[in-house]
Structure formats: structure tokens, C-alpha cells
Symmetry: C2
């Protein structure tokens, strides 16, 4: 198979962790006899610096022409406390999501036995937690219009909009995930208060009979925020709208103590995109100390979801587990034990795959 | 002082925990020489059953005429999975908030040393956590219009609106709380994406210089959802808009392991309202087993916030602490030790105050 991959390393630690994911991808291609073409493009703060646009048209063309996009991280401290800056890295992110039609963001939440002690939750609650958060990514308040200010500037408004097509598309995706897992889908909304949530719930209730093998249940978003902490093992697949998903997926990402290990996938109409859930971690940029595992596992998701190559994905996962067992880990995981550099971890994992 | 108190016991365990709060309130009045007039009124599912309206005009009159409202809980399982029912208990709640102008919901998040082991968080993270969540309660998506469906029913929309007045009012309230505490205010928004949040942040930045003794910081709501779990001690006062507040306050309420102990206050234009943060807990209704402490501590907040009677509030708090130390607790806290009934706990606390 010839794999056309767009490579958007982005800002901060993006480039150095991306290097490791590319090594690993090459090792997989070698072992399983695939060809890969990598095309690099700029995005984020570095693209603003270079061309004044966080998601330039050239970058969009590269993504559109690719079967999958590997994405590092974007963001720079100089934009952090200034949400009113005219051009900001996030705008590029949102435009990219919309223009590539990346409607479904998938975040597996899993525990690593060797990292459980880093979880902020009690080990007995979080051990064995294994669920997937699916967030609708191109609708809701993020893109609803009108959005803005009254003429005098003293009233602001946003609009949350969802159509039947958008809701059905993401729910079908969520049901397909549930079917391949423990067959339980939790639809999270605020149907007791808002109209868009009532449409979500109505459509979910209409669709549920099409998936008789799946148990569908419903949670209000405030209850979901509690349940993720109190009983994380009760979830299998959780699906929700864009803004609730933003909050809940971040909440869910910290309960396992392995933020630096968690990958994500964004399923799209034109292509799909794979990125670690952690950010650009500017303090570590250029130091060769950042943990590349989330980026490497994002490449595993790419093999599975974009190319339907499951053995290839599993090989990466297996290599990562072996590296953890062997203690080939970066400093924030080593905790006083021997720490390896970003590139050493990448080398070890890719050699493990290709040997 | 003559205290005019409206008593809305509501549904489920509401009436039996309310009885304990009233005993305690009477004991405080006796000890400190106040007169209290209690006027009961119906709300919630029981009001729908009685008169077809979860917040009848008579109940509103009773609240308007009172200096403070003690509120139990509302909700009944028959409404739980039917957000499309034409009349629902929550509608009464929202109407009550709007009509009484209850703009500021205050939820102290505190730990009880004897309950730390019930926290889903690691004890070392949550010990000593002590912060206040302030949620704007009469604006945002809960009340913004237009809200509804397209003619064909296949598109739904909600509107989030905030005005400068609404934002300034709640921020002033939050700053006043911070001033009486550890002098730190965290403003939570999503100013990198939505227009209402950008107005929140702009106004907060304008107001901060008026409170030079307070350190103001800003967090995006997704980061706040992580930080509440990872570092709860980093908060002093957190303020946010209605829907974010709904999610974050519920998340914050479970981290201490003492959901059954936590009171809340809703500060209003016409009156203010005090209620436990737990719900109507229908499974326990009528059994005299529910924990009345959150309701009793809500009465303490009433003395402090509605009547500015701080010694009186402190006396309740002290009595509750004494009851915990003496092991006079309901079954979910007793955990195998001797369990006391709802009314026994109420009796013990009120006798402690009045002796
Ligand atoms: C940076 C921001 C616009 C973005 C979002 O809110 O979607 C981020 O929080 C995320 O979850 O990817
Ligand atoms: C019942 C519901 C309408 C309500 C809300 O969303 O405000 C509840 O969750 C709360 O927090 O008091």
C-alpha cells in the first residue's frame, strides 16, 4: 500500500516528537512492506510568523491531497493571555477542522499499569478504566453564527446550532465504535435545558433501535462530569457535542495519570488527522526531553483508522508497551530512575518494530 | 431580628431534611434571640401533581415576600428520561431563578477530614482543598433567545447572551468573596473560541485594577476541568458563566467525597435562596435515612449571607463539626459504624446549639 501522509509538526515540542512518529512509521512500513510519502507543511504560531496565517492555503492543499495528516501541536505563550489578538494559532486549528470536515474527534482513555500511581484518582477507581470519548468537532457553538457584539459592544452573543445530518453522522460513528468494543454507548447532553441537546437526544432515541446489540444510555453533562471521576470504569463509548466534548475529554484525559501518553484521531470527510492530546509544551521545546509516546500512538491510530491496517497499529502499540516495561521512558515518567531522551525513545520503539 | 423565611421543601428527601434545617434554625433563633416566621410553599414534581405548575404564582409570592428561601430538592424519576415532557420540574427551577433574580450561585467546596477517604481523588491532592465556585445563574444559554427548531424540525439552535451589567454584577460578587478569603480570583471562560467569553474576559481585565489586593487569573474551561482534579488546592474563588458553572461545580462537588455535606447559596435581587447541592434522592425518600447536613449547612449560609449574622452561622457549623466528631452521622457516612437517622442527626445538632 502507498500511504500519502501530510506532516504538520507545528509549534513547541511538535517537531521533535513528530520526528519520532515518522521514524516509527517508517519502521512499520519497512516491516510490513508499505511505501509512504511524507509531505511537510506549516501550521500554528510558526506559520503566523512565517506567512501571517496559522493555516495557510498551501498547508490546506497538502492535507487535502493526503490520506492522513500527522499533527504535532500548536500554540505559543505569546498568544496565551491574549484571546483578543487579531490572528491566533487556534483560529488555524478551527479552520483546519472545518475545511477538512474533521467531524469526529476520538480520544481513547486508557490506563497504563506502570503509571497508575500518577493518576490524581484513587488507584482502585481508575484501574482498568478503558473508554473512548467521541466529540463532535465541526458544529455547535464553535461555528454557529451569528456570533459577536451589539453595536455598543456591551452585549455579546454566540449561537449553538446542530442539524440532523451532523448529529446522525457522529452518532453512527459512535455506534460503530461501540460495536467493536463493549457495546455500550453513553450520549451526553443537556436536554433538560437546551434545544440542540433535545434534538441530539431525540435523534439518538430514534437511532438506538438500529443498533439493537448496543446498550444506549443518556447522561446530562453535569452528571457526566461527576461520573468520569467517580466511576470511570462505567464508560465504554461516550459521545457528545463539540463544547461539552472539549470540557469532558480534557477532564477524562487527566484521570489516568498518562496525559503524555494519550493519542487522538479526528475522522474527516476529506482526510483524517492524528495528534497527541497534550499541547505544544513550549518550556520543553528543543530540549529533546518531551515524551514522544502520545505522538507515536497517534501514528498507530493512523494505521488503524485511516488505512485500516490493524496489525501495523498493533505492532506500534506492542513496541510502546515493551519500551515502558523496559523502562525506556522520558524524564517525567522515569521519576528519578534513568531517563531517556525523546529521540532515544523513538529509536528504541522503531528498532523494536523493525527487528 | 425578625427573619422572614420561605420554606420550599420540594420532592424526594426534601421534606425530611428540611425538617432538620428548621429545627436547627429555631435553635439558633432561640439561642441568639431572633424571631423567625416560616412560610411553606410547594415546588417541583409535587407542585406539578398538585396544581400542574412546578413553580406556581403563590409560591413565587411567598418567596418575594421573604428575606430568604430555604429550598430542599426537586425532581422525580418519572421525569428523568423524558426531557421532552411538556411540564417538567426543572422548568420551575429555571423560572424561579429568573423571577427571583438569583444571579449568583455560590458553592463552597470544602473537605471534611473524616470523609477524605471517601474522595475519589488521592488524599494528598484533595486534603485542605477549600475553594468557592461562583456560577452566574440567570444568563447565558439557559435563558438566551432565540432557542428552538427550524420548521422541518431538523435543525435546532440555542443562543448564549451576556450583557456587561450581568458580567459586572457577578464579577463584583466574586471579587467580594475573594477579598474575604485568600484574595485570588480565577475567571473561567472559553475566550479563545466564543464571543460571550471574550466579553467576560475583557470586563474582568477592566475590573481587575479596581481590586488591586486580589490576584486575578484566567483559565479556559477545558483547563479548569483538568485543574480541579489535578490541583484543587490551587483555587480560592472560581467564577464562571451559567453552563460552564453547571458542569464545573458538579465536577468540583464530588472531589471531596462529601457530596451529602455541601450547601449552596443563590444570591438574588429580590431575595436569596439556600439549598443543598445534592438532589432529591428519591430512593431514600420517607425512610428517615438521608443525610441532613448539606441542608443544615445551607441554613448556616442563610444566616451569614441573607441576614449577615455570622456568629449564628458559625454556631451551626460548629455544631455540625461536633456531630461528625461524635459520630452522629447517617448511614452513608457511618460505613458499618453506628448509623443515626435523619431526625436524630437534626435533633443532636439543634440540641448542641441550644445548650
Ligand atoms: C485550542 C482550542 C480552540 C481547542 C478547542 O477548544 O477545541 C482545544 O482546546 C482542543 O480541545 O483541541
Ligand atoms: C436541573 C437543572 C436544570 C439544573 C441546572 O442545569 O442548572 C441543575 O443541574 C443545577 O445545577 O441546579
Amino acid at each position: 500500500m502507498n500511504l500519502k501522509i501530510a506532516v504538520l509538526a507545528g509549534d513547541g515540542i511538535g517537531p521533535e516528537i513528530m520526528d519520532q512518529a515518522l521514524k516509527v512509521t517508517r519502521a512499520v512500513c519497512k516491516r510490513f512492506n508499505h511505501e509512504a510519502t511524507f509531505t511537510e507543511a506549516i501550521t500554528g504560531a510558526c506559520a503566523i510568523d512565517a506567512v501571517g496565517d496559522p493555516y495557510p492555503p498551501e498547508t490546506h492543499q497538502v492535507c487535502m491531497a493526503a490520506d492522513a495528516v500527522l499533527f504535532g501541536a500548536i500554540g505559543h505563550p505569546k498568544y496565551d493571555n491574549n484571546p483578543n489578538a487579531p490572528i491566533r494559532p487556534e483560529q488555524g486549528l478551527l479552520r483546519m477542522r472545518k475545511q477538512l470536515g474533521l467531524y469526529g474527534n476520538i480520544r481513547p482513555v486508557m490506563t497504563f499499569p506502570s503509571l497508575i500511581h500518577k493518576s490524581p484518582l484513587r488507584a482502585d477507581l481508575v484501574e482498568g478504566a478503558d473508554f473512548v470519548c467521541i466529540r463532535e468537532l465541526t458544529g455547535g457553538m464553535y461555528f454557529g453564527r451569528p456570533q459577536g457584539r451589539s453595536e455598543d459592544g456591551n452585549t455579546a452573543y454566540d449561537t449553538c446550532v446542530y442539524t440532523r445530518e451532523e448529529i446522525e453522522r457522529i452518532l453512527h460513528l459512535a455506534y460503530r465504535f461501540a460495536r467493536q468494543r463493549r457495546k455500550k454507548l453513553t450520549v451526553v447532553d443537556k436536554a433538560n435545558v437546551i434545544a440542540t441537546s433535545r434534538l441530539w437526544r431525540q435523534i439518538a432515541q430514534e437511532m438506538a433501535p438500529q443498533y439493537p446489540d448496543i446498550e444506549t444510555d443518556y447522561l446530562f453533562v453535569d452528571n457526566a462530569a461527576m461520573r468520569i471521576i467517580q466511576w470511570p470504569r462505567s464508560f465504554d463509548v461516550l459521545v457528545t457535542e463539540n463544547l461539552f466534548g472539549d470540557i469532558l475529554t480534557d477532564e477524562a484525559s487527566v484521570i489516568t495519570g498518562s496525559l503524555g501518553m494519550l493519542p487522538s484521531a479526528s475522522i474527516g470527510i476529506h482526510t483524517s488527522l492524528f495528534e497527541p492530546i497534550h499541547g505544544s509544551y513550549p518550556q520543553a521545546a528543543g530540549k529533546n526531553i518531551a515524551n514522544p509516546v502520545a505522538m507515536i500512538l497517534s501514528a498507530a491510530l493512523m494505521f488503524e483508522y485511516a488505512f485500516n491496517l490493524h496489525e501495523e497499529g498493533a505492532a506500534i502499540r506492542q513496541a510502546v508497551n515493551a519500551s515502558l516495561e523496559a523502562g525506556i521512558v522520558t524524564e517525567e515518567i522515569a521519576e528519578g530512575g534513568k531517563a531517556y531522551t525523546t529521540s532515544e525513545v523513538g529509536d528504541w520503539v522503531s528498532e523494536y518494530i523493525d527487528s
